[in-house]
Amino acid sequence: MIQQYLHAYSYIAIFALVGLLYVVVVLTVSRLLAPHRPSKEKSHPYECGLVPVGEPWGQLNIRYYVFALLFVLFDVETVFMYPWAVVFRDMGWSAFLEMFSFIVIIALGLIYAWKKNVLRWV
């Protein structure tokens, strides 16, 4: 059981390791093989061939933050739906009603956000 469990996750470990090695190997090979002749044009940040405009650190509108917060909240809501989806068939109506009221309470907040026009972009 333990062996099986660890085995299943060893794939993730291998993936992470290979990904890490790939980055290290490619950067090392490029450093060893590529000629190093820097010039002003070459050291520009790459923006698909256009001349870069402005600072790399630009200030975003606060509206993005509301969307990020809403995303995290519904992310948490979704997390609760995983165990629910697994046991739903066995537990029947009680689980259904519990999840239903859970979603209704959160939907109240979504309606509030809607009424307050935060979801509108412009």
């Binding site: 059981m1 333990i2 650190w57 993005y64 992310d75 165990p83 519990e98 859970f102």
Partner: protein, 169 residues
């Protein structure tokens, strides 16, 4: 074997945590924060808490870190130069850290840990779902109220910010 994996994960988490608090660039410290959270997710997996590990990756390493980056990008950038973070209160920080470390290790060594988890008690989503929807219904519904509070708080902040930006425009 498990001990080796644990020490590797613990080393990754600790090093990432140290980089997080000592980095001069705040974006770098957010990224090492992500690495530390992923290391903790790995430790959860080692403790057979699959669901916790999934939540850790989805919500913390994913959502919360993105939100931290957003919060960083909302701040006004320093004109011209990117200013390095300064660490002016090293001594109080050190004292606080030592006191907290002492308190936490004291309570960890004081507490009785009824451990030795049976391999059959791997916390699958099924086990969690059964107990959540049978024994812990009220806490589950309270979670929705807490989420509602957070949602309304976010909306209130958003409306306020909109008025501020409208004034500037």
């Amino acid at each position: 074997m498990q001990l080796v994996i644990f020490f590797v994960l613990a080393a990754i988490t600790t090093v990432a945590g140290i980089i997080m608090v000592s980095a001069d660039n705040i974006a770098r410290s957010i990224y090492s924060h992500v690495l530390a959270l992923l290391g903790i997710a790995g430790i959860y997996l080692l403790l057979y808490a699959e669901f916790m590990a999934g939540v850790q990756v989805l919500v913390y390493a994913g959502g919360v870190s993105i939100m931290l980056l957003f919060a960083l990008m909302l701040t006004k950038p320093a004109k011209g130069v990117i200013r390095a973070l300064d660490h002016p209160r090293r001594v109080p920080a050190f004292i606080t850290a030592v006191v907290l470390f002492g308190l936490l290790s004291f309570s960890i060594f004081q507490a009785k840990w009824p451990l030795k988890v049976e391999p059959s008690r791997v916390m699958t989503p099924e086990v969690i779902g059964k107990s959540m929807f049978a024994d812990y219904v009220l806490p589950f519904e309270i979670v929705s109220v807490i989420l509602l509070v957070a949602l309304i708080g976010a909306v209130v902040i958003g409306v306020k910010g909109r008025e501020d930006t409208d004034d500037e425009e």
